[in-house]
């Protein structure tokens, strides 16, 4: 009786996710192995060329490599920049603490297109960053900060930094202060207490924050599209062009499935890692 009611309550959400999420994603598998002929469209037949070219053709390898490089650099940067901020927010007794936390949340809730637009204004040839650097005499000629790795990197760090900070606050808060104090009392310097006690104890937060930021970075579409343009491609903008510009849905499906596989593999791996470190702690 009770069991039946539980299923009935779950039914709307389950049907929604099954029909409007799982089935559509699964249907990309058959599409991805059908040949696409320009001017004709998707033909019947079977081919794995959209997969093989992803791992053999240097054009696609460069895009995949660039996506992964952005993912790891953004993850590392947000971790290094964000950890002290999370540490501060976790430990401070300021009565402004909740409002400061909300100040981290605010950019997150602000429209992504708007935030990206802000970076266009900042990084453009005659943008604020170039103006400031030239006024300070650091550079003579304006730097090229749009449509390349640097610009994309700066904007993506800005966009995903709040995620890292918010994920880290909880695990840092959970570290008992006594453990650090004990290390200090036993003669450890502040640095070695931090490196050997605090940092390892916040490993679960570091792991989940890093996986989250990496996954979000390699999936990002809006920022790479607006700051990279049609020429400086990452995987998601490649998929976008394949579906909306080139109309080569089979190729787009193969690329989308590869991106999905990468994301799922990472999430799965982090689950295993989390269980291992959790078991050791």
């Amino acid at each position: 009786m009770i069991r039946g009611r539980g299923w009935a309550l779950l039914l709307p959400a389950l049907v929604l996710l099954l029909v409007v999420f799982l089935v559509p994603v699964a249907l990309m598998v058959p599409t991805s192995v059908r040949p696409y002929v320009p001017m004709v469209g998707i033909t019947s037949g079977f081919t794995v060329r959209y997969y093989t070219r992803l791992v053999t053709d240097s054009y696609y390898l460069e895009i995949i490599g660039r996506t992964l490089a952005l993912g790891s650099t953004v993850t590392l940067a947000t971790l290094v920049i964000g950890y002290p901020v999370a540490f501060f927010l976790a430990r401070t007794r300021s009565r402004w603490r909740n409002w400061l936390t909300l100040l981290v949340v605010f950019p997150l809730l602000l429209n992504l297109v708007v935030r990206t637009f802000g970076w266009i204004a900042l990084l453009a040839q005659n943008g604020l960053v170039n103006q400031a650097l030239q006024a300070l005499g650091v550079i003579q000629e304006p730097l090229k900060l749009l449509f390349n790795f640097t610009g994309l990197l700066i904007a993506l760090i800005h966009i995903f930094l709040p995620f890292m900070v918010l994920v880290l606050i909880g695990p840092i808060q959970n570290i008992p202060r006594d453990v650090e104090d004990a290390a200090r009392v036993l003669g450890a310097s502040w640095l070695s207490a931090f490196l050997r006690v605090t940092l390892p104890l916040s490993a679960p937060g570091i792991l989940s924050g890093s996986i989250l930021v990496f996954v979000l970075t390699i999936s990002a579409l809006v920022t790479p599209r607006l700051l990279g343009g049609p020429t400086y491609q990452v995987m998601s903008t490649l998929i976008y062009d394949e579906f909306l510009q080139r109309l080569n849905w089979p190729a787009g499906s193969a690329e989308a499935l590869l991106l999905t596989a990468m994301v799922l593999a990472l999430v799965f791996l982090s689950g295993i890692l989390a269980r291992r470190t959790g078991a050791r702690a």
Partner: protein, 263 residues
Amino acid sequence: MTAAGLRGWLLRAWVTLVFGFLMLPVVVIALASFSRTSYLTVPPKGLTLRWFGAVLGDPEYVHAIGFSVILALVATLGSLTAGVAASYALIRRRVPGGAAISALLNAPLIFPGVVVGVALLQFYALVHVNGTLGSLVLAHMVITVPYVVRAVMASLQGIDPELEHAARVLGASGPVAFFTVTLPLIRPGIAAGALFSFIVSFDNVPVSIFLLGAGQMTLPVKIFTAIEYGVDPSIAAISTMLIVLTGLGLAAAERWIGFHRFV
């Protein structure tokens, strides 16, 4: 200064710098939207509200704002209904495979938005519902339902199931006990979930951009395409409006439901 004092000072300096970095684009947009020039410049040259007038007088923008609001409201209502029911079942009823089900419900959170977008583009074309408002609402429900489930489940976990039980013992039917006892208690969770859901739907580009039919345009997709055509201060003006509304919404949510507990 002691070593500890110096470290504290350095930490504060770093935190201030990072907050400055986080707010930098926001400040730049807000300033640029008041410039008299027809190109984007900071600090603004002169002071004018004409770009705000230009946006609010542009029927395309007005239509996109209205469409986005309606889409986000309907998707949020749908997500709330499906999400609250599912959260209740997962927390209060012993459902076999509960862990797998909640993993599935949360999957759209980590799934690349662009993949959901292209998958639905093909699927909707296949079943001939492409370009309809209903299909767009369903797509937005998929990406918003995880936020509702997360917030409501967190809220439900903090409530003693015995309270609803007591109402049942005192003669209330199941639905009456739920709606008069449990629902009021999880109101903060529902409000937080609804707010997240509204924002996620209202902001979405990677799913909407593949699914919009003729005559349909959401605000973020409109801004996205406007930027691709060329940057001007009217984009800064609409952005400034969104900045102000987001800020006010967040402050209100914090006052009413203690929003920081749900992030």
